[in-house]
């Protein structure tokens, strides 16, 4: 764990820029977070990243909380704070100003094109985040089956995912994956 100013600046720079490209939400930036944290900066292993991803999904609250965990892992409490502010700050300002003029463009034709054009991109990015984390988790048959079963249950039912997480944790504890 490092907490020098250089590391904090690096964290802030990565997340501030990344947030502006997170089309469709925080999960859309997960492939880029993994690329930076595991491959470029080597802050953590792919397994540690998938742990952090799992913790962020289980914790109540917005998914963006994954950056808090990455920041904490890299530079302790200061890192957690810097990463969270960098990920939320620029886009909050954007939302604040755009939110003020949004209604004026209610019927503008470009608004529909923008929304329709960004939807496939955001879906592709979210699917990519699943694939990227799966490359660290899908290491045996039971793990793949757990992933697929959770996907099917999520798609077809409204079951609270915490039940699935509890069952998956027990499977893991039993040494099955």
């Amino acid at each position: 764990m490092k907490d020098d100013a250089g590391t904090l600046l690096t964290l802030a720079g990565y997340f501030a820029v990344m947030s502006l490209f997170a089309i469709g939400g925080a999960n859309s930036a997960v492939p880029e977070m993994q690329r930076v944290a595991v491959e470029v900066e080597r802050w953590m292993t792919a397994r540690q990243f998938s742990d952090i991803f799992a913790i962020a999904q289980v914790t109540p609250g917005p998914n963006v909380i994954i950056v808090t965990l990455i920041g904490y892992h890299v530079a302790g409490f200061a890192g957690a704070l810097v990463a969270t502010l960098a990920m939320c700050g620029p886009t909050s300002l954007l939302a604040f100003y755009v939110g003020g003029m949004w209604e004026r463009f209610k019927d503008a034709p470009w608004r529909g094109a923008l929304q329709a054009g960004l939807l496939p991109i955001s879906i592709g990015l979210i699917a990519a985040s699943a694939i990227v984390v799966a490359s660290a988790t899908a290491h045996n048959f039971v793990a793949v089956a757990t992933t697929l079963a959770t996907a099917v249950v999520t798609y077809t039912t409204r079951l609270n995912p915490l039940w699935i997480f509890a069952a998956a944790a027990l499977l893991g504890l039993g040494g099955l994956l």
Partner: protein, 140 residues
Amino acid sequence: MTPEEFNDAYALCQFLPGPNVVNLSVVFGRRIRGAIGSVVALLGLMGPPFVIVTLIGLIYAQFGEIAALQRMLMGVAAAAVGLVLGTCAKMARPLFKDRLGLAPLLALATLVSVGVLRWPLYWALAGLIPLSIAIAWVRR
């Protein structure tokens, strides 16, 4: 806020970059009480999870390598991937109403470039976003 206003703000925050719920809290806070409203909504949304997750980060740093915890996290991570896949599949349903099949193709191109080829996000999006919006504009 009326239901229409809320839906409108929600639509805005779906296409603004960054964490959707965070953006929504800012827009919502602004409607209620201006800039102060936004700050308070943001703090209310992020404060408690920030504290909880920092504590979890502390625990993980201490005990993350314990075998039993490691095995449990493996299970939860596998399920978390499934949760994201299932949610993504739900969101993708409207894409398949596209009769030319261009929308699913654009989603697939994004998935492959960012998720499989592991291109930096910016390179991939610099090409894909203008292309996708141009296609939507032409077909509007």
